[in-house]
């Protein structure tokens, strides 16, 4: 893990990059990184995020600034701007079931080619997907999903990069921290090594490439 400034971290992300962003309706989202992505005007992003949050909050800021050109998410119902951009064909949107979303990312992070899920069988979600039978039951083959960058928000990070999360701000962060080439983390608190007990570490240090240092 390397400590960097938020400016340096975001400078590594080119326009047109694919980014996974943790958070659920803006809870557990690395706001400082997104503010900087907006400031540096990274355009044409492929965004992988559970939802579109709301305008002004979380990944909602990326839609406010019209920086997203492709989106994979599970629900964008609470962000009218994201909806408008989708309806105006400014964004190509792939809406998928939430359990499938997280398993695809987990597969990407864990070296699996995909998983077989019963979710979506016989629905519109099955269109164009392989249907695989196991013991007489049908499953959809859902393939792994990865990104160039994962933007992750933790509660505690120690000097090595071990991470813990708080309450419902954990959500997609630990899974995304495994599924990208480069993992960039903001933390509410940076603490000495040993403050986080081994059994409480959720994301082990070697998964973290960059931690945003205090100013």
């Amino acid at each position: 893990m390397n400590p960097v400034s938020v400016e340096e971290a975001v400078a590594m992300i080119p326009s047109g990059a694919s980014i996974m962003v943790g958070g659920f309706m803006g809870v557990g989202t690395p706001e400082r990184l997104l503010d900087e992505v907006v400031r540096q005007q990274k355009t044409g992003l492929t965004l992988i995020s559970n939802d579109a949050a709301t305008p002004g909050k979380g990944v909602g800021k990326l839609f406010d600034a019209a920086l997203v050109s492709r989106l994979t998410a599970t629900h964008i119902g609470l962000n009218p701007k994201a909806q408008q951009q989708m309806l105006a064909n400014q964004i190509a949107v792939d809406l998928i079931p939430q359990g499938t979303f997280v398993e695809r990312i987990r597969a990407g992070g864990c070296g699996l080619g995909g998983v077989l899920t019963p979710t979506g069988v016989g629905t519109l979600v099955a269109d164009g997907k392989r249907l695989i039978e196991v013991d007489g039951k049908s499953f959809l083959l859902e393939t792994a999903l990865r990104a160039q960058f994962a933007l992750v928000h933790a509660f505690l990070a120690d000097y090595l990069g071990n991470l813990t999360y708080a309450l419902t701000a954990r959500n997609f962060n630990p899974v995304m921290a495994m599924a990208a080439e480069t993992v960039i983390v903001t933390a509410e608190h940076i603490v000495p090594v040993g403050v986080i007990a081994p059994d409480h570490v959720v994301t082990p240090a070697p998964l973290v490439d960059y931690l945003i240092a205090n100013g």
């Binding site: 309706m25 629900h75 939430q98 499938t100 997280v102 979710t119 016989g122 509660f155 419902t168 630990p174």
Partner: protein, 216 residues
């Protein structure tokens, strides 16, 4: 009684001590208000919590503790938090005993449509498809009709949420079960007759010899 409260109170009677329960947004959320205090039910919020409590008291809300809509909630003693892979592992894996969801249509075969109206803005299915596919019991809590049209239809015209039939539909007029594979009128709401339910229901309902009134 308010139609939504009739539905919420009746659904609450379906819960048992020890159940892990997931409540959807809207009418389902109200169910938690009508669970007897001595009934130990675990409520899951699919954004990563078992043991959701009521809205926090003034000044106690924490921005990192919210429900799936992003609204502040509290957590009860004995709560557990986890990531989304675990949350949907619980849902898809049959560990959620009861899920209560809203509906747009339920048909005579018990199929639910609740995520998409073609031609309208599609917000996305969120966790609904996983919940209907994976929970042990699926209960739909919805008004019996919308704009004068029955939401209990012969065949869903809207895209399905899952091909897995729901177990129970609770409306402001009736309780409808699908145990035999076909929609069966189990109960009527207080003061509502079987004939009144049939008159506003598009789907053919099997009508047993006796149809008791809902206990609330």
């Amino acid at each position: 009684m308010d139609p939504q409260i009739i539905i919420a109170r009746r659904v609450a009677r379906e819960l048992h001590s020890g159940d892990l329960v997931n409540l959807g947004i809207g009418i389902p959320t109200l169910v938690a208000n009508y669970v007897p205090a001595d009934l130990k039910v675990f409520f899951q919020s699919e954004n990563g919590l078992i043991g959701t409590g009521p809205i926090p008291e003034q000044g106690m809300a924490h921005p990192l503790l919210t429900d799936a809509g992003g609204r502040p909630i509290s957590a009860l003693p004995g709560a557990a938090t986890f990531d989304s892979a675990m949350s949907f592992g619980l849902i898809r894996g049959g560990h959620v005993d009861v899920t209560v969801l809203g509906g747009l249509q339920v048909d005579a075969d018990g199929h639910l449509a609740n995520w998409m109206i073609p031609g309208k803005m599609v917000p996305g299915m969120g966790g609904a498809m996983d919940l209907v596919s994976g929970a042990r019991r699926v209960i739909v809590a919805m008004q019996h009709a919308a704009k004068g049209k029955s939401k209990i239809v012969a065949k869903c015209s809207l895209p399905l949420t899952s091909t897995r039939p729901v177990d129970l539909v609770v409306t402001d007029l009736a309780v409808i079960g699908f145990a035999g594979g076909k929609a069966t009128l189990m109960e009527t709401a207080p003061g509502v007759s079987v004939a009144e339910v049939m008159a506003v229901t598009e789907a053919d309902l099997t009508i047993p010899g006796t149809v008791p009134e809902m206990k609330l």
